[in-house]
């Protein structure tokens, strides 16, 4: 039995389907990237999995059918990081991270000292150590993303869903965030499903890539093992003509570089 499976997931807005019978599986320790053009259904897929959007089909995580769980049970197993957080009132950075412990707290219960300590550690891990008492609304968009990621890490869910988490981050923090996610997913039995904006980042950090086009799965790529020409062909459907190169950085790590080619010879 796979760690997480999605079967025939169909969802949309106003009766019009945006994703149509999507199915895939995810193993523990896997970072799965979602790539697709704008409107291809990446956000719809993530929102459907975490129950924000009504849908048909089923999602099973470690034997539990997500559709049958209460919001509290679902939040205990599965975390979602939206493109932008909807927090719009003055709260400290620490308070925002502590929200992640809600599924483990009773209705009238407040976070313990241990939870506060874990929240501080999660903030330090994403590079926001020492900023616990700052106003969340005064952070830059990228720092807000990191804060929400810290909230997710602290909550210790099994499946993490991220919607373009790198979109507001600068070059350095993009790589730092993906490094962090790759380490986190392998620490324990966990999995990450991340819609990513930047294909180069996805090619270098994800174990597998799910290519979406018009609400359907176009292809599944394994950047570590698949042949370059096969990946170029599949990625070309999304981005037009592209070429992939394997090269090494100064430390000897192999990286995949995607270049845009002119559409006509």
């Amino acid at each position: 039995m796979s760690f997480f499976s999605v079967t025939d997931l169909t969802a949309g807005y106003g009766g019009k389907p945006v994703i149509d019978r999507i199915s895939f599986e995810l193993e523990a320790g896997c970072l799965l990237g979602l790539l697709g053009a704008n409107g291809s259904g990446k956000t719809t897929l993530l929102k459907s999995i975490c129950g924000i959007l009504p849908h048909r089909g089923s999602c099973v995580l470690e034997g539990s059918v997500l559709e049958q769980l209460s919001p509290r049970e679902l939040a205990g197993r599965c975390s979602y990081v939206p493109q932008r957080s909807g927090i719009s009132i003055d709260l400290s950075v620490l308070d925002v991270v502590l929200m992640g412990f809600n599924p483990r707290l009773g209705l009238l219960e407040y976070p313990s000292g241990d939870m506060k300590e874990r929240a501080r550690k999660a903030l330090a891990r994403v590079g926001l150590g020492g900023r616990e008492e700052e106003n969340y609304l005064h952070l830059s968009e990228g720092q807000k993303q990191l804060c929400i990621l810290a909230r997710t890490l602290a909550s210790e869910g099994r499946l993490l869903l991220l919607d373009e988490p790198e979109s507001a981050l600068d070059f350095r923090y993009r790589y730092q965030m993906l490094d962090l996610l790759r380490g986190w997913v392998r620490e324990e039995k966990r999995a990450v499903l991340a819609a990513l904006h930047d294909p180069s980042l996805a090619l270098n950090y994800c174990d597998r890539l799910l290519l979406l086009a018009d609400g359907k799965v176009l292809a599944v790529l394994k950047p570590g093992t698949d042949a370059l020409n096969k990946m170029e062909e599949e990625l070309g459907v999304l981005y037009g003509r592209v070429s992939l190169q394997r090269c090494r950085d100064k430390s000897g790590r192999e990286q995949l570089v995607m270049l845009k080619e002119p559409e006509t010879e």
Binding site: I52, P71, Y80, I87, N102, L107
Partner: protein, 326 residues
């Protein structure tokens, strides 16, 4: 301890001191002069005025202002709207229609209070029942349901006013709508104040959940919040708190809007301390306004005149101060 927490605690301590000072002043200001010596000597008239009129009026001023401030904080946080107030779901108009019905068809101040309370509860019940027809339980649905209930209650109020005797009943209805702590006696406040305190305790216990409701609906759900149910429960408790007060005092403008704003501008946070400070500012505003209402002119004036007169410049001052700091 971090700076915002220290600041919040300092403001709460200062607010509590000012509230106690105003409460003490409220006990001794009024048409019938009271003195500490007279009360200590056991002057029966002074003791009677003190226990039946001044003490109860002061309690309603303090508890009422506190309740309006805390409820305003809850509404503004849950609706993520700085202009939200109990009026959003029609509680004030429901209470007005109930009070008008009480004035026309029942006799005695206690009956009018009970009728206003029933009107407020009916409005809240109807607004929340209508909004629950939308399973998603969106904020906008609750607001729309509140607008519909507000319109219905206003129509009922107009019809009641048309049937009222212009000399006596219509004047009473208008005076009630303007709001006043005049005429509140110790015999009629017990039940309302007890229920109000119970609701306030529940709101403070639910503070963490109220803050979670301030997140976008999908995000709150992914944090394990049963958004629809929790929001209905929190709004019902906050509205009950307000209903307990407006059914005693009539409509009191500005306190529920201003007090939480003031607390947020001072503390720059939305902690439980901010909610407490919102309540304290509400108490200060309502008690201060009530002292002026009974001492500024030879006749008792509606308290809302002074809550607005005190509140508007204070809000402007806080906005300017906040902008200068940023």
């Amino acid at each position: 301890m971090d700076l915002p927490t220290v600041k919040t605690k300092s403001f709460c301590a200062a607010g509590a001191a000012l509230m106690i000072a105003l409460a003490a002043a409220s006990l001794f200001v009024g048409k019938y002069p009271l003195s500490i010596e007279g009360l200590l000597k056991g002057d029966p008239m002074q003791l009677r005025v003190f226990w039946t009129l001044r003490a109860s009026r002061t309690i309603v001023g303090i508890a009422g202002g506190f309740a309006l401030g805390v409820a305003g904080f809850v509404y503004q946080t849950v609706f993520r709207n700085p202009l939200a107030s109990p009026d959003v779901i029609g509680v004030s108009s429901g209470a007005s229609a109930g009070a008008a019905a009480g004035i026309l068809f029942l006799s005695g101040a206690a009956a009018v209070t009970a009728s206003a309370f029933a009107g407020a509860l009916a409005a809240v019940g109807l607004a929340l029942a209508l909004s629950s027809l939308d399973r998603a339980g969106k904020n906008s649905t609750i607001v729309l349901a509140g607008i519909a209930v507000h319109s219905l209650a206003q129509t009922a109020l107009m019809c009641l006013k048309l049937t009222a005797d212009p000399e006596r009943e219509l004047a009473s209805i208008e005076y009630w709508i303007m709001g006043s702590l005049n005429g509140i006696s110790g015999y009629s406040i017990g039940g309302n104040i007890a229920l109000c305190i119970l609701c306030l305790i529940l709101l403070f216990l639910l503070h963490r959940q109220i803050i979670l409701l301030s997140a976008e609906e999908g995000e709150a759900r992914m944090l394990g919040v049963h958004v629809g149910r929790l929001r209905l429960a929190v709004l019902l408790i906050a509205t009950l708190t307000v209903s307990c007060i407006v059914s005693l005092s009539g409509l009191i403008s500005f306190v529920g809007l201003l007090a939480p704003h003031g607390a947020r501008l001072l503390t720059k946070r939305n902690s439980a301390g901010t909610m407490l400070l919102g309540g304290l500012l509400g108490s200060i505003l309502l008690t201060g306004a009530d002292i002026l209402a009974r001492s500024a002119a030879s006749t008792e004036l509606p308290v809302s005149i002074f809550t607005s007169l005190l509140g508007a410049p204070f809000l402007i001052f806080l906005i300017i101060r906040g902008r200068q700091r940023t």
